[in-house]
Structures are given as C-alpha cells and as structure tokens.
Symmetry: C2
C-alpha cells in the first residue's frame, strides 16, 4: 500500500467484474472501491491495492461481480401465497383462490411478513431492488427501509374499496401521505400504481397524470396483459387500452407498462418515441397463458425493456436469474431468431434497464463510479458453470441463483457466503409457516 493511499470503506476484488455499462464488457481481475455506500472507482486489482487503504477487503477469486438485479414488477406480500393454487384458468384462480385468501389475511402483518420472506429470497438470488405493487405501501416501504433493501413502492389506485382505502379520494389521500413519508429516503421511493385500465377510471388516470408530474414519480401499470383485456376495452370505449392512455396523456417517460403481450407495431413505435418502459415478465406470462410479449421487437425499436418476476402467487418465485434466462431464450423463439436478445442484453434488461424504468438509472443498475454500491457476486466455479468460455453466457444460460454468494446494497453487506445478514432465516421461516397454517385452514 502506498503512503498516499486513500482510505475507503470497502474494496471488493473480483475475478471478473461485469459493469453492464459499458455494454457487454467483462473486466478481468478488477476491483470495485466503495466509500459511503457509493462506488468510487472500478480498476485493476493491482492498481486498486496501490491506490486505496480499505477498512474492509473482500476477495472473490471465483466470482463475477454484477450489478444487483432489479425486479421491475412484483407483488411481494403475496410471497406468502406461493403455490396456493396453480394450473387453473385465470379467473378461477383469481376469484376462487387468490382473492378469497387475500380477503381473509390482508393487513399490515401479512404485508410485513410477506415482504420479509421476499427480501430473504431476493437477497439469496442477487436481487437488490424491487418495484413493488401492493396494498399497504406504508408498511411495505417501512419494511424495506428497516431491512435496508432498495425498493420503489406502488401507491395503489383502483376503482373499488379494499382494506387499504374505501373511495377514490381516500386512495389519493393515502397515496400523498405515503409519498410524503418516504420523501428523501435513500432506499425507498414511490410510484403511482393504478392497477390496470379495466379497474381504473379516466378521472383517476387524469389525477394520476397531474400528480405524477408534480411529485416527479413513475406510473406503474399492468397493461395489455392478455388479449381479452384489449378486446374488453375496445368493446367499452372503442379504444385499445394503450390508445385510451394516449388520449389521457399517460403515454410518456413516467409510464412503466407491465406485461404488454399484445402490442402493435404502432404501439411499439409510440413506446420508443415517448420513452415508455416496458416490464417483461416472461415466466408469469407463460404460466398464466397470458400471451407472448415480443421482447426482441421492443428491444430493436429502442424501447427500454426491463424484467420482472411478477408475484409469487403466479410465478412462483422471485428468481431474477431464471427470469433472465427465460427472457433470453423465449425472445429468440418468439422472434424466430437464435441470435435475438443476447446474453449481455438480457443482463442489461435485468439491471440498468430496470433502474431506468423506475427512475433510478443515475443511482443504480450498473457498476460505475458515482453510483450506489448495489452488487451481487456469482460463483462460476461450480460444476454447473464449467468449463467457462464466456462470462455473460454462463450468467444468462447456465448459472442458478444459488450460485449468488454475496450481496451488497448501498455498500452494506446483506448476504455473505450465502448467509443472510440482518435477517434471521429461522424467524422468517417460522412466520411463513404460521401464515401457511392460517391460510390452509380455510383454503
């Protein structure tokens, strides 16, 4: 160490660093210097050792260090309903299983315990940020904040009474309160979360448009999930849901359009031009038979495409490593082109594009100086990822989430050699088991 070495909190030395930006680059034997939760520099290990005097040094000699994965669409309290009902037609599943179960359990405790279980699962799989969409965003946000996990929590708006709010005005009142309570928070932000065009009125959408501008937050919306949704709207308003949103002024760079399995060439062009982000949830779309999102067409048109798992009641996991693989291979088949949606792009969709979708591209999504140190280390020496010819290929097509060994959020270690830090797995599992007993008793 040179006498002029700069003191920093943490130096992570990795066999490979995949910064995502610049695109498709793999840095051999590089280190990431971190101070105050921020990335100070990315440089060769030898240079880093000469330049810095870290208070902590971590060696990852068998690992690729990647940006923490961004799950751009999820309903994490529903992790407690994982696998409650499967293999059913969509409406039977919702009306006879999921909604009745929710009605009996929903409330602050359910939401808190569901998010805890989800955080444990996400950290063990390299995810460091969730774009959340569920009731009780106050409790959801507080839970993420307490656990030191990064999230954007949706402020729900839906045209019928729920346990969260009873009237349109109350949804908006509570949205304002929750937004205010997280103003300036380093980890938890907010977005408007109108449920879907078929459950939200023009009036509410107009209020959301004005308020989202005022508060400078995204609008997180299920859109064109199925062909039925599009047909029903056309019967009602004569417009496709996307057209209706265009008319209402919501097709802009705040819009996070989730699913988009039904999309015309014109709509793709409009998304690209307006700066709309599309969140592709390939495993949910397959499992619910929702349809096939033309992910490669969206990518080629220059639309910002992010990835999400959707909730555990439908998917049934929060495995973004698997979602990367499914997105990449499904996009090829849908495009009829084995060269489509390559490994490096799939990783970008799960990181930097997600960050951009939720308005955090200046803070997270890539390993660049000035950004928050949200990082995941993937061990590539396992039998399942050998021999190793190309890092991006191995990450996208062969690695499993259990090969994630270490995770940091804002420079704080959250997973160390696969052990959760700041979260007792025994306690998390005990709560999950208690909810299971309660739910199984009536379902």
């Amino acid at each position: 160490m040179s006498p002029a070495a700069i003191e920093i909190d943490l130096l992570i030395e990795a066999r490979w660093v995949v910064p995502v930006e610049p695109h498709a680059v793999v840095l051999d034997n590089h280190a990431v210097a971190i101070d105050g939760g921020r990335i100070e520099a990315v440089l060769p290990i030898a240079e880093a050792r000469a330049a810095y005097a870290p208070r902590e040094r971590v060696e990852l000699g068998e690992h690729a260090l990647i940006p923490g994965l961004v799950n751009s669409h999820t309903h994490n309290p529903m992790t407690l309903l994982r696998g409650l009902a499967d293999d059913l037609p969509l409406m039977t599943w919702l009306q006879q299983h999921i909604w009745p179960a929710e009605a009996k359990v929903i409330g602050p405790e359910f939401v808190r315990d569901g998010v805890e279980l989800a955080v444990a699962e996400m950290l063990r799989g390299g995810t460091t940020c969730a774009n959340e969409n569920y009731f009780f965003p106050d409790v959801i946000g507080a839970t993420y904040r307490r656990l030191g996990f990064r999230a954007v929590v949706g402020l729900p708006v839906i045209e019928f009474p729920t346990a969260w709010a009873k009237s349109q005005d109350e949804y908006f009142e509570r949205a304002g309160e929750v937004h205010d309570s997280f103003r300036g928070d380093g980890l938890v932000g907010t977005a408007f979360a109108p449920h879907a065009p078929y459950t939200v009125s023009d009036d509410s959408f107009e209020r959301i448009r004005v308020l989202a501008d005022q508060l400078d937050i995204p609008v997180h919306l299920h859109l064109h999930e199925t062909a039925t949704e599009v047909e029903e709207e056309k019967k009602k308003s004569g417009l496709r849901p996307f057209q209706r949103l265009q008319k209402l002024g919501l097709v802009n760079d705040r819009l996070i359009a989730v699913h988009m399995t039904q999309v015309t060439e014109g709509e793709i062009a409009a998304c690209a031009e307006a700066g709309v982000s599309v969140v592709h949830c390939p495993e949910s779309n397959l499992k619910l038979a929702s349809g096939f999102c033309p992910a490669e067409k969206l990518r080629r048109a220059g639309v910002n495409l992010a990835l999400g798992t959707d909730g555990c009641a439908s998917n049934n996991d929060l495995d973004m490593v698997s979602e990367i693989r499914t997105a990449a291979i499904l996009a090829k088949a849908v495009a009829g082109d084995a060269a489509a949606f390559d490994a490096a792009y799939a990783l970008r969709a799960a990181t930097l594009n997600g960050a951009r979708a939720i308005g955090l591209e200046d803070r997270i999504g890539s390993i660049e100086p000035g950004k928050q140190a949200d990082l995941a280390a993937v061990r590539l020496t396992d039998i399942e990822t050998q021999p190793l010819f190309h890092i991006a290929s191995q990450l996208a097509y062969a690695a499993g989430r259990h090969q994630v060994t270490d995770v940091w959020i804002a420079g704080r270690r959250k997973l160390a050699a696969r052990e959760l830090i700041g979260l007792d797995p025994t306690e998390v599992l005990a709560k999950a088991h208690a909810w299971r007993e309660r739910i199984a008793a009536f379902s």
Copy 2:
C-alpha cells in the same frame, strides 16, 4: 423393531414420497424399503419401522422423495462445449463454432471426460438416467457403467464419415459390437440413434428397422426439430419427414421422436396410435429458436411425452428440474390455457414417461415395489419453497435443482447431503479446465 423384522439393505424415511404412479399422489411420512437395489415396499414410516430391519436407515424429514429424473435426450460429451458459442443463427453456430471445435477434440478422452462432468452435474440435479446420443458409444457406455449411472447409449448412424465410423457398413458393424458389449448390463442399454431424416438414407433406416426389432431396442431420432427441416424434406422426397418414416415402417412403439416442434393433427394421432414417444426439449427449442412443440395437444391425444435437456452446447445445462418448469409453463402459453400440463403431469413426463420412451418403464420412473431404487430427495424447507401448500406445485414451479440433496441409483447412494459419492469433483473440474484451455486456444 419386531422380532420378525425382515432384513433389508436400506430404509429411506421421507416427509413426503411422490411415487408418480399412482398419478398425482403425495404420501405423507412414508418410507421406501430397498433391498438388492430394488424397491421392496412403500409404506408409512411407523409400519416400515415395525416390519424391517434395515442395514442402513436415512431420514429425510424436510424432503420430498421422487423417482430419479430421466433425461430423455442429451449429448453429454458436449458438456465440455457448454457456452462455447451462443446467440448465433443455427447454421453459423453449428458450422463455424460447434463442428470445428468437435472436429479438433472428438475422441475417446473427450467423450469420457465430458460424460464424467455430465454425471456430476446430473447427480447434483436429481437426474439418474440419460438417454444418450453421441459418437463413441462404447466409451460413453463404459463411463456410465464405471460411474454406476443408468443410461441408454445411442448407436450412431449418419450418412457421412466421422471419427466414429467411415461408412454405412462400419456404423452398423460398430453398432452391433457396442450393443453386444452391453447385453445384459444392469445399468447401460442401447438404442439405435440415426441422426435425423436429413442425414440418414432410406436404406439405413430400413436396416435400422429390421435390426431394432431383432435386438429389441428403441430408435432415438431427431425429428421435425424445425420448419426448415420439414420444408427441405418435402422439396426432396415430396413427403414430410414423418411421412417418410411411416413409409419406411419406423413409426412404431420403438420410435423416440425428439423435438417435434412441427406436427399436424394427423401426425399427433398417428403417434398416439402407434405408441411413438415424443421427447420435448423446451429450453433447447426456445434457445435455438427451433419452434414450439404443442406439448399439451400431444398429452391430450395420449402420446407418451418425455422431457430432455438436449446437449450443453445448446441448452446450456443438464437441469431437468428447470426443464420440468419450462415445459409446464410453456405448454400453458402455447395451448392458451393456464390449466394445461399441470405440475403432476410435468413431473410424470420427466420420470415415468421418460422411462417408457426408452423401454425401461418396468424398471424405473416411479417409486413402486419391484422397480429399481433410482431416487432423488428434494429439500423443501428452503426459503424459496416456503410456505408450502402443495408438494407438486413446489417441485414444478419453485424448487431449484440445488435443493436436491440425496440421490440413489439401483439403491446405491450417489449423492449424500449434496456431496458426490464415487466421483471426485476436484478431478472432474480439473479435466474440464484442461479441455477448456485446449478448446479456447483454437476457438
């Protein structure tokens, strides 16, 4: 233990046993009694403790015990080419990457070391049987036998010279020799493996038809993998490849038709009637943009549908747990029906249907008295599979292959608490690394 207790080799006590046959059944707190490599009985733990005096007893209090998974289509020596080239059009990938690499390395050592790496991976993922399709079946079979792994090795027939054989006659000669050398082997059997209709002549197919009957072995064939394959054959012979095989008398219950992404209603009915087995390789079909196999239609028509990973150069893994999930969710989307191809059926496809495809349904594929004790234990208490409402759902939609903790083949433990038995992972990895260096030097 009662004084009249019967001495047996092994008693495995599991929190759940999923026998696959009877279908969709989960047995709570059951034990499997094993002697001489065979399953003696499946019964409640308390009864088993009274009835048997096992020389070894294994308690799996957090696990589901399932039949070992049957990978019904793979090219395991190619595990050494995992991720060598990806994200390329099919012909570029084959002609500029895979074939040149193969040409430089193929031979007994490559094949042996590739199968070793594959066995290590398969065991760590709950797979206990592989339907193999590659050159040097003598070495492949000998390697499986040495490692105590169950396999059917393909006897290659292709209409051009390779490192394995130089002429049609030599392919058949060598096929006969290899078949004879494994006659009566308890673990390794053989099948004819004509490569594909576009690389095999009518004359060879006719010889195979006669010989397969004489030797009583299956015929393992890539068929209707892509639309191009079907179109090209129609240009050449005026027939679809399937029609040509019908004419040649090969559409019968020996036929293992792999891929079948292009299939008419008539062909589905013909497969069901003739007892053809179809091997669906969903992840390979997606990644190579080969097309969408109508798996649910085949299932409904009563076709025996099995699952395979395909080789690691294309997939890029031997993960049958993931293949179960992908098969189930993809089938729903292709059928447009979320109730299609349910979890219990997906597990059956990966076990008993595979056994039937390769002519081993009387020996493996389910946990039934009289069958070989090929078993895998999946730990379901991990955060990723909690809460737990339904075992089959958790196995198909949430569990990862790393949750497989213990594996037996013919009653012999091959994986114990995730440690490989009889296979040194350090040695396997060192060989993989050496091949990687050699291949990377010229690719």
